[in-house]
């Protein structure tokens, strides 16, 4: 079982928005969808390192602010025809609290 750490409340992240967690592995972006699901990806786009946390969230996807590649929040995969994968982190949501694991 990966170890989960409490990082904040669901309400701290706007719907269709994202916040950043600073870790010694680098920044991790936590996303909140319009259905209040949460996902976590490394905050560095596999294309040229753009901060995914600054992108526009839509459905279960985020668009990188740098060159508009679109990524699936669930898998980290770029939406075709682009090919790339952003590192994913396990997250859990329990009674409004967000828990993150640093084991990719």
């Amino acid at each position: 079982m990966p170890k989960f750490i409490e990082v904040g409340l669901l309400e701290d992240i706007p719907q269709l928005g994202s916040r950043v967690i600073e870790t010694d592995q680098g920044r991790i972006a936590i996303f909140r969808t319009s259905d209040d699901e949460v996902f976590a990806l490394a905050d560095a786009c596999p294309h040229k390192g753009g901060p995914l946390s600054q992108g526009i969230v839509h459905g279960k996807r985020v668009t990188c602010p740098m060159h508009n590649w679109v990524f699936e929040l669930q898998s980290g995969e770029a939406v075709a025809p682009d090919e790339a994968c952003a590192a994913r982190y396990p997250v859990q949501l329990e009674s409004g609290k967000i828990y993150l694991s640093l084991e990719k």
């Binding site: 701290d12 706007p14 269709l16 916040r19 600073e22 319009s34 390192g49 901060p51 600054q54 459905g59």
Partner: protein, 813 residues
Amino acid sequence: MREKLVLVGNGMAGMRTIEELLEIAPDQYDITVFGAEPYGNYNRILLSPVLAGEKTINDIMLNDEQWYKEKNITLHKGRWITEIDRKNKIVKTADGLEAAYDRLLLGTGSNPFIIPVPGSDLTGVISFRDIADVDAMLDASTSKKHAVVIGGGLLGLEAANGLKLQGMSVTVVHITKTLMERQLDKTAGKMLQQSLEARGLHFLMAHETEAIIGEDRVKAVRFKNGLEIAADLVVMAVGIRPNIDLAKSAGIYCERGVVVNDTMQTYDPSIYAVGECVQHRGQAYGLVAPLFEQAKVCANHLAKYGIARYEGSVTSTKLKVTGIDLFSAGDFLGDDDCEEIILQDPASGVYKKLVLKNNKIKGAVMYGDTIDGAWYFQLLRDGTDVSDFRQSLMYGKSHLGDSGHGGQDAAAAMSDDMEVCGCNGVCKGDIVKAISSKGLFTLDDVRSHTKASNSCGSCTGLVEQILASTLGGDYSAATKAKPVCKCTDHSHEEVRQVIRENKLITIPSVFQFMEWRNKDGCHVCRPAVNYYLLSSWPAECTDDYQSRFINERVHANIQKDGTYSVVPRMWGGITNPTELRAIADVAEKFSVPTVKVTGGQRIDLLGVKKEDLPAMWKDLNAAGMVSGHAYGKSLRTVKTCVGKEHCRFGTQFSISMGAHLEKMTWGSWMPHKFKMAVSGCPRNCAEATIKDFGIVAVESGWELHVGGNGGVKVRATDLLCKVKTDEEVEEYCYAFIQLYREQAHYLERTAPWIERVGLSYVTKTIVDDEQQRKALAQRFLESQTYVQNDPWRERASEGVHEHEFKPLAVIAG
């Protein structure tokens, strides 16, 4: 259980419909496809280059059998459907196979017309329709000598050219005096004939075939005037007839084709039809561009969205004979009420003719130089009034104020390693390869696969040309009203109209009302809709920050390394020691790595950490400075020159005019960025004539210029009018901004907007109509009352969006 969809006819229109359907509703149906030909789905258009030896059969496959497997589509290739049992909803093949359907799609294409003369059933008499025909021709060319092609239309000429290249001696027989008379006028037809003759083809014009002669194999062709010529191979290419046999035998209402309504539905509501077999509003089509439009509409209804309508198409034609450039569209002969503009230069082999009626293009024929074909076709379909640029119309699009790209736009002349897209470093060869190997058809496809034309867009025309020349036909032709994005079929205009008429003030209500495909939309439509809401209902609507691009969300420009830049306003380019000192202080305090003077007469602090932004803004606010909106689709800068304040030539006070206009207009959101400049005399040191709104002072007052752009595609302004007083300058300026705010598409700058709606429209609304002008100016000032709060102050001192600038948590160790 999923519903069953059966497609009869594994051709271009039917399969395109299936592909469109899979895009929008991948899981709705169990799909079964019957095709008489023993292959997957291929690109019929490219049979001509295959015959000419420029491509192979493998090159032209669109979907191989593996693709059908991956998509879980059952493919029955090499099987004819001979019966539709409509009562029990079952189709049957000749050899007894059956398949049940809930919805049936007919895409049976058409049959080549064979002239019923004696001998037309001899071996060696073939048509030009499918792979089997091409194989037969290639086979004949290895052992036989004389080919006769009956029919001097598009197909006949492509066949003739191919057979000639395969080494046969070829005679084309045509019933009238002009080749391709349905697409070309006499002059262009003659020029075409001459250049084909120069390649060694023979022509028998105005000859009618009487009989084909031979025992079992063709030996000769005889004409009504008694002439007889030797032939080992006869290709009949005199026309096609919609293939309606199957539909007719099932009692589905047919005339010349299977009759469908605007949703592509036949008289039997569970049966749809697309492609060449169809008759829509009395019209049958034989080119793929309209068939693809039908496919899109049909898919929309099969997916049960039920919102798209097919309203018919205007088509254009290109001949796919390498080295011959020919384009034709619309009514190129015209009638007594039409005017013609003709440009003819026999020495360089160029002929262009435009047919105009009431200053709108009705038809075009071009030979030798077809670069502007797509542009004329667009003007034709949009019904654009061309009076504003009629004099330069003939010289093409590049003469319309575009001087940015030095005429580098002849796609055919480019070598494979020449760069097409400077933003993404994409060469011509990359694009050609992606088009052929991935089977791309549209500009959007090319954009997403290669990234060419995906950024600044200045190479779009070039990419479209490469697409056209690689594919042959005129595929990429954009449909008339472009949808906002892939989430909807609605256009920008429709969205705006719905927002206004129904007083919608939130994004979800728009998406719901207009049946968006995704509940959250995407990064393309959300910012656009957010803008339309804000500009329509400035008092009622709340800005949705999650729908704004990052720069506008945090009021700074994101940099390539994820830091930000900060550009404070300097009204009209004027600053003072206090401001400069404050800038120097924050630069030191926050260790700003770069301080730069911008091209917009102010200072940029580059490389600021996101967390530092609010504190830095607070210091700048304290010295009286506010956001410069260097990041926004909004008013950017108002450049000025020193003017009458200091200059020996100055005729009016340009600095104070510029500073005042900037104070009045800052903060307003626009469809795209908006720049202004004020020059103190016609020497124009503020470069006002490449701005969205440019003001040039003259002795008697001010000249007002609009629609300039100094960016990707340079466009000098058009002169709107001259005015006398400062008050008039203001009123015209606000009215122009408001007209642009209310009418342009999101991300359309004033230059392309004016080219779309025409300068005369803007003049009519703003200069000629005082009441409208005043009303527009009034609406602008009203909407300004809601936005002139410095967004930096709100974030630095009023606690707005604190979450943007702080991490949610810091995890150490």
